[in-house]
Point group: C2
Chain length 311, copies 2
Amino acid sequence: MKVLVAGGAGFIGSNLIDALLEKGHDVVCVDNFFIGTKKNIEHLRGNDRFTFYEQDLADLDAVRDIFTGERPDMVYHMAANSDIQASAAAPEVEYKNTYTTTFNILEAMRQTGVKRFFFCSTSAVYGDAQGSEVNELYAPLAPISYYGACKLGCEGLISAYSYMNDYHSMVFRFPNVIGPRLTHGVIFDFMKRLRDDPTQLTILGDGNQCKPYLHVSDLVGCILRFTEDIPAGVTTYNVGGETQSTVTGIAQIVCREMRLKDVAFHYTGGRGGWKGDVPVFAYNLDKIHAAGWHAGMTSDEAVAQTVRDVL
Amino acid sequence: MKVLVAGGAGFIGSNLIDALLEKGHDVVCVDNFFIGTKKNIEHLRGNDRFTFYEQDLADLDAVRDIFTGERPDMVYHMAANSDIQASAAAPEVEYKNTYTTTFNILEAMRQTGVKRFFFCSTSAVYGDAQGSEVNELYAPLAPISYYGACKLGCEGLISAYSYMNDYHSMVFRFPNVIGPRLTHGVIFDFMKRLRDDPTQLTILGDGNQCKPYLHVSDLVGCILRFTEDIPAGVTTYNVGGETQSTVTGIAQIVCREMRLKDVAFHYTGGRGGWKGDVPVFAYNLDKIHAAGWHAGMTSDEAVAQTVRDVL
């Protein structure tokens, strides 16, 4: 099968491409290196089942041209601004890189007759659910970040496009994903700051903010499994592990894996880190469990593995 | 108070402006005459409390310039593509006129410090709820039209912008609105075709499709009442009447008001009219009733009044 991976030079996209090639698929990767990097895909140069287009997906005409030329059987849409903290000061980045890219891909599919679609959504569509264990039917969906807002908008588009054009679409809402090729987030940040000063670490908030972390290898395995035969319409799953990691716990794991001792933790205090961040979050995973999938690693194991991946 | 009405030359927008001026507000109207018309606002020429900009709201720089120059106290955002049937073949219209206009207004508000916002949403965000009586917390929100999809995306943006920037936002989800200056829809269509041929009328579907119609005078009264003092955050209401009209019932009312007799109705058969249309719909109005508001006209009364308004 020929698959198009939008945002394939990014963290999750490039890990997915490795797995798709390993399964024998032909892969067309489209990326503009806004967040994705040449380094993430340089090992694929010379692979004759891998084709790369350096292209901004916010340009509808260019996207349509690629679809017309390549005629993929399926699209994995992994392109988005994934740095919520950065877009808090520049919402246009989400409008362009998260929402418009999705509109353009769905529209190019409509115009060229592509019917199968996978979309990376996010727990951020739920907003600050104040500790509720949210399942896929939770309401109201009240995102508090521009990122979550644009992803919710994308889910709306997927719903309408799938209905109007008989798409088979799979939407995964997942929390923080970590692992090799990670480029930002708390683990990346702690590691960077501890390399600069291995004696102390400043932690935003009170350190008790608690979130589930999923290792990218678990996520990619889940994506491959659930996109083999996507039902008609839109199927949405929460995807994640059952466990969570606290920020202080992450700091301790990072220190342990970096073999640092007696690091002094300083806390800025307060409930959360920055505006638009969701400090406490719990996922209901009954639906994906009932479908027979469980994460292979706990959240803390994923954190530890990531530190080893990135070191 | 100085209010900016985006899409103020449209059907609902121009009716709202008349009411806002009557209440003594200064009104800045922005419209590009995509659906709105010069005729809808020509009676306001010379009114020194009315300012008009002919401007496409999909241009962020231009929108920001208007906000910077006018510094409104509040924004009523009535601009959108409102012709769902037309955009079914051209989804870009919704992307540009429904979603992008909303993003640009919310972003211009952020950049210029405007905090109060009213938004026209729609029952189309609920998708085809198959006869369920949907309230504001109904899930999943699975729009089946590009219009509903883009309006849902707008609601997501309003949620995030309001949280991040302390906006006071009011969102009304309402069904078909009818009344003077109506430009499309089943009543308009029936009247036009009966003028051409008063002996017969072809009706899409089986004529039993049933929807609530709200007269624009009821809607405008409700908007004015609930935007006098908008609470912090986002408040969402279903707005409508308790009754519905069938398509056959509308045809009968149109014939009666046009004083036509013995018109032969021909039915195309099937459940609904066109793909993306929602044939059966019921609204739960408990929240707005509890807040003390009820529609003044039944759905059939609104239909009859509209035929008289438009004749």
